[in-house]
């Protein structure tokens, strides 16, 4: 899998260089303020983990970076240039690829078509040029197999896949097309232990290939396995912003769960 990433990664990336910077970013949905005054840096060769309660604004944050919603306050810089994306296309064109929590797949379309949607391989530059279908099928199949997912038929509508299989397609797609920045919104949520492991390996490989990775997860263990930088959101605001080394896994877990509640839970549930 490292080959895929290495093949596609932008070779001009230098470790530590900030690719995406958010400064005081805020976002309101009408009367609802989902995000306020958040700072975040996604640097090349680093994994930034965003953690937080349900409804804390994590998805909102990454939707801003990936161009799905424009932000309503603060500034965003990509490659040190201030930007406000009008559409996800603009983000994609800057090499920012995203796995959305709600997946962004088209249920009635075949798996391989979903994989290449928006970035089809074509045989020529004229408008109705044929797609290189055979190649697209092969690549889609191959990338999925690398994640340990063998779908019965790469031509089946993606709506007939299991939840986890769909998740894998979305991840494989983002990894394949993420040239500079890779954003993942709870990629391991629907995945089993094995597939989660594969995804974590992907994240590590992307980091090693020099990409900037933004990784949203509810699992502090997962975050701690690969993260360089941890941001915890609470009610739309950042309550913790720490580099690896300045925070331990236990601290992270405690922060996320709201202090002692977790200890109590473990005690309560402990049956042994």
């Amino acid at each position: 899998m490292t080959d895929t990433l290495a093949d596609h990664a932008d070779r001009a990336l230098r470790r530590g260089e900030p690719l995406v910077e958010l400064i005081g970013v805020g976002k309101s949905y009408g009367p609802i303020r989902a995000l306020r005054d958040v700072d975040l840096v996604a640097a090349a060769g680093e994994v930034t983990c965003v953690l937080g309660d349900n409804g804390a604004g994590k998805s909102t944050l990454i939707k801003i970076i990936s161009g799905l919603h424009p932000h309503t306050a603060g500034t965003m810089r990509v490659d040190r240039v201030e930007r406000s994306f009008g559409s996800p296309r603009e983000a994609l064109d800057l090499g920012i690829a995203t796995v959305y929590q709600d997946l962004a797949v088209v249920p009635l379309m075949e798996v391989w078509r979903n994989f290449f949607l928006g970035s089809e391989l074509v045989a020529g530059r004229y408008p109705l040029a044929g797609m290189r279908i055979r190649e697209m099928r092969r690549i889609a199949d191959q990338e999925l197999r690398k994640m340990g997912i063998a779908v019965a038929d790469i031509n089946q509508p993606i709506g007939t896949l299991s939840g986890g299989q769909r998740q894998c397609v979305a991840i494989a797609r983002a990894v394949y097309f993420g040239a500079r920045v890779l954003i993942l919104d709870e990629p391991t949520a629907a995945l089993g232990v094995k597939q989660s492991g594969v995804v974590l390996k992907y994240i590590a490989a992307a980091r090693d290939a020099g990409l900037a990775v933004v990784f949203i997860t509810h699992n502090p263990q997962h975050a701690y396995l690969v993260g360089d930088h941890f941001v915890i959101l609470k009610l739309g605001a950042a309550v913790l912003d720490a580099r690896r080394g300045t925070v331990t896994l236990d601290e992270l877990t405690t922060q996320m769960a709201g202090g002692d509640e977790l200890a109590e839970l473990a005690r309560e549930l402990d049956r042994r």
Binding site: S87, P88, A104, M109, L117, G130, P157
Partner: protein, 351 residues
């Protein structure tokens, strides 16, 4: 590859079976249907519906409707005819002007839908009414009557007629060039949907526009393009009508928009978008043509015409659904409530 071919062939297999059933049925019950001439007449009738239906089918796969597709054929012809008749210029100039006009209408439809978020059903309903009124109002203003004047004596008529309304004899039958054009447009649409990148986008914007946008599909451009394709094909049929009949009734064309939608849906296009097939739409148009003329060839009581038409259509759709179920062998649907997974055959809110 074998497997994939089977899958690609699937959507129209049902429609094809239905068309065959209906066709054979009329061969059996209507002796005068059994001739090359009758077949060519059916093909011609199907082509005049089918050409626009191809565009409407694409648009519906892309998740939108165009109710102005019927009247725009007449608008196209009227613009051409009246412009040239009034100013006495070459008909080619009028045809091009008319093309520009139609593309503009298509663009406006699409732009309004995307810009305001008003459902295309309403926007194009508005366009439909406006065009219908303008057809009548302008024609009356320009020609003083409600039909356009004979243009067969104006320069360029013969060459344009060659392009849009040429026909040649084939034994006792007459083959109209629209049938060939129809085949061409269907082939082009089928290629686009199955093989071209834009086809991928069309399915995506119809199946899940938000998801498509999220992965970088230019949703707005794709949809506007689809609206313009429909108007282009409407223009094409308008040219045929004009150069075949020389004059046009300003009030005509109304109602055809539903024939196009019917052809598309009978051919297996999902009314809610995201699923369908160009060949299916063509077969849908053919089923409609066969049925409506077959009833005449069979000489059935014309008072019951619509009743026969309704029954035949329902039959066609039933055969279509049944064959598609068989060939795709989806999950055995839970009794009555329709399959709970998005197997296209009968899914979506219509399931």
């Amino acid at each position: 590859m074998r497997r994939s071919l089977r899958l690609l062939a699937r959507p129209e297999a049902g429609a094809l079976a239905a068309a065959l059933v209906i066709f054979v049925f009329f061969l059996v019950v209507a002796p005068s249907f059994r001739s090359m001439a009758a077949f060519c007449t059916v093909l011609y009738q199907s082509s005049t519906i089918g050409i626009v239906a191809v565009g409407v089918g694409l648009l519906m796969i892309g998740g939108e409707f165009d109710l102005s597709a019927g009247v725009i054929t007449i608008s196209a012809g009227l613009v051409n005819s009246m412009f040239c008749w009034y100013l006495g210029v070459n008909l080619w100039a009028g045809a091009l002007l008319s093309l520009a006009f139609c593309l503009l209408v298509g663009f406006l439809n699409g732009w309004l839908v995307m810009r305001t978020g008003i459902p295309s059903f309403l926007v194009t309903l508005g366009t439909f009414f406006v065009l219908q009124g303008a057809n009548l109002g302008v024609t009356k203003l320009v020609t003083g009557s409600v039909s356009s004047r004979d243009i067969s004596a104006i320069d360029g008529f013969t060459s344009l007629q060659k392009v849009f309304a040429w026909s040649f004899p084939l034994g006792a039958a007459t083959v109209w060039i629209t049938v060939l054009w129809w085949a061409l447009f269907v082939a082009l649409a089928a290629w686009t949907l199955q093989r071209a990148r834009i086809g991928n986008w069309i399915y995506a914007v119809g199946g899940a526009a938000d998801s498509a946008r999220a992965v970088g599909v230019p949703v707005v451009r794709t949809k506007i393009g689809l609206f313009m394709t429909v108007s282009f094909l409407g223009w094409f049929v308008g040219m045929h009508l004009l150069y075949r009949f020389n004059t046009l009734q300003a009030g005509n064309g109304v109602g055809n928009e539903f024939l196009y939608i019917i052809a598309a849906v009978v051919g297996g296009t999902l009314l809610t978008g995201g699923f369908g097939n160009a060949f299916g739409v063509a077969i849908g148009a053919f089923i409609f043509g066969t049925t409506s003329l077959g009833i005449v060839y069979a000489g059935w009581d014309p008072n019951w015409f619509k009743a026969f038409l309704g029954v035949m259509l329902l039959l066609a759709v039933l055969v279509n659904t049944y064959v598609r179920r068989l060939s795709s062998a989806p999950a055995p649907a839970a009794p009555a409530a329709g399959p709970p997974v998005p197997v296209p055959a009968a899914s979506g809110k219509e399931g």
